[in-house]
């Protein structure tokens, strides 16, 4: 039996190092691991928006040539967001008379759960993942797509025209932008052959040149397309039509107040980080620094038998690197928000359907053809199938243990049919 909330990595650490002689079966260990993860993620989920909202204010202020928060919690206003949060919790939980009360109350939770759930599959570093799903990327995209339902319900149930308009805009926009987003996400997936974000991360070990953004021309373009689309799908400016305060007061959350309102914002900032995290893993090398430091440390830990603690330390460094990258992308989104004006809804839709969708499809096609092109251009020196999928289909190895370093140029040119035959031959 495989529990839902248990990771290959952290649960293994718990099992193998701390609790390996713990009385009873593994379910207790898994439960402990799950609880740890829940706490960790909830904490992150709670803390990160605080930081991001503060950051947003500061960035907005700096860009608008002002200071932003300066008082609460010290000189830089560290605790401004926290103070806001306390204020929001204290506020009365209002519900309009015409609202559908049940849906009105449930919608923020739906948004929150969807956004929160996405982090189950997002690795924060080597081993720092709640559930190392083989379809991790797919899972994240799926859960984040649920967010829009909450928004739509919120808009509908508010009993307000502004809210309804906002909700409908949100629905149209997000449903449209999900498509190019998924396609763009598939471009690096073609290069790696895996939807498992941990594997994708491992794939990019060994320097900045191995980052997937530099894998081929299409992934390079795909990164920018992806980032644009991701910005739109988390309804960040200049695509924030759902809460266009100049037209719709506040869009879908016009009628919300207090803690329910803050859920929407926590979800929004979490989603910003989630899509940024996906971008980091798909294009920007995951937890690797790009200069070989992590790899060197890994090698060092392996060679000198530093045990799980050494490994853990290295992983924590990787986690820091990943969070730094993700935060940088979030910062970039903020930067864009305060730089560019908001588009009209027709422009938003046109951008998606007339430009981004064809571009992403072209990139997808190009990425599929690229290995063949490269194969023919280099006279067979490169492999058609050079992804982990082909690699794994060809060379028998334990699936559970991930290699620390993946050789980029593993010469395994055999096509799929030959793979099977040779595999079964070895079996015999």
């Amino acid at each position: 039996m495989m529990p839902l909330i248990a990771a290959n990595s952290l649960a293994e650490y718990v099992l193998e190092s701390i609790l390996w002689d713990f009385p009873g079966n593994g379910s207790v260990a898994f439960t402990i691991a799950a609880l740890v993860h829940v706490v960790l993620i909830l904490t992150f989920f709670g803390v990160a928006p605080l930081v991001f909202i503060w950051l947003e204010r500061k960035v907005a202020g700096r860009i608008q040539d002002r200071l932003g928060p300066t008082r609460v919690g010290g000189r830089f206003g560290w605790l401004q967001t926290l103070a806001d949060g306390v204020k929001l919790i204290q506020k009365e939980d209002l519900c309009p008379a015409d609202a559908d009360r049940m849906l009105f109350r449930m919608s923020p939770y739906l948004v929150f759960v969807a956004s929160f759930g996405a982090f189950i599959a997002l690795p924060f570093g080597n081993g720092f993942v709640v559930q190392n799903l083989e379809v991790g990327l797919f899972f994240m995209l799926a859960l984040m797509s649920l967010e829009v339902l909450g928004v739509v319900f919120a808009g509908y149930s508010s009993g307000s025209k502004w809210a309804l308009f906002g909700g409908m805009r949100e629905a149209a926009q997000v449903v449209s932008y999900e498509i190019p987003m998924a396609i763009c996400a598939l471009v690096p997936v073609i290069a790696t052959g895996s939807l498992n974000l941990v594997e994708v991360g491992h794939f990019q070990a060994g320097g900045m040149g191995n980052w997937l953004i530099f894998q081929n021309p299409f992934t390079f373009v795909a990164f920018f397309v992806y980032f644009t689309v991701a910005t739109a799908s988390v309804k960040r400016a200049p695509f924030d039509l759902a809460e266009a305060e100049s037209e719709l007061v506040a869009g879908f959350h016009t009628e919300y107040s207090g803690i329910r309102w803050s859920y929407f914002f926590m979800a929004e900032y979490a989603s910003m980080f989630a899509v940024s995290g996906i971008a980091v893993f798909l294009f920007l090398g995951g937890w690797y620094d790009g200069f070989g430091i992590i790899e060197t440390l890994d090698r060092f830990v392996l060679d000198n038998g530093c045990g799980w603690l050494g490994q853990y330390t290295v992983n924590v460094i990787g986690l820091a690197i990943f969070i730094a990258k993700g935060t940088s992308l979030v910062f970039f989104q903020m930067w864009v928000r305060w730089t560019l004006p908001r588009l009209r809804i027709d422009q938003v839709m046109m951008t998606c359907l007339k430009y981004l969708l064809p571009i992403s499809c072209t990139l997808f096609l190009g990425a599929t053809v690229w290995p063949l092109f490269l194969h023919s251009m280099t006279a067979g020196q490169t492999d058609i199938i050079r992804a982990p999928m082909g690699d794994r289909a060809y060379s028998p190895r334990p699936a559970a243990v991930q290699p620390l370093h993946k050789s980029h140029s593993a010469p395994h040119p055999a096509p799929a049919a030959a793979i099977i035959r040779e595999g079964s031959g070895k079996e015999a």
Binding site: P3, D100, L110, L133, A142, V152, A171, P398
Partner: protein, 207 residues
Amino acid sequence: MTGHQLLFWVFAAVTCGGAIAVVLTQNVVRMAFWLIVSLGASAGLFFLLNADFVGTAQLLVYVGGTLVLLVFGVMLTASGPFSKMQTRPGELFLAGVVAILLLGLLGSSVCSVEWDRVIAATNSGHQITNQQSLNHGFNRPEEGNTGHPLGMAFLGMRPDRDLVAGNKTLSTGYLLPFEIASVHLLVVLIGAAYLARAKRRVHPNEL
């Protein structure tokens, strides 16, 4: 009670409760909400059944795509305030009786089958062993993480069948159905766009 059992009961309760709520609710938007709850929980059941890819697909396609469309439809076809679409009590009663009978029939059918024997009968003898599948980098279906095997199956290869020792024949996988489904989706896309396209309605007073 193991974790699996606990999770199963939670998910099963939410699934069934959501479904029943869909039936009992009269407001269409709430029906949609309960449907989301029910389907999402059934995605959880899929995860419990080690079908993580199916569960994810359920979430992405069904919940994230289809239901958004449904909600869209609900909002586009909102009826006027005076038109009540109440079902007659007699019909409701009849439906309830039929539902109970049908449930009893299905439940008794499920319970009267000795599933162990049935499962044993399905053992074809050509089962890939755990070590074999691991050697080839695939998990057995019952072990979850079926993304890769499913992908291979859609590309026309069945690792769980073809990699069995001594098996000389290659299965064809699901390439053809996959392609047919793809074309079907395209056709449906065009057809739906055609059906739902904006038509200028001619009012009698405009003539």
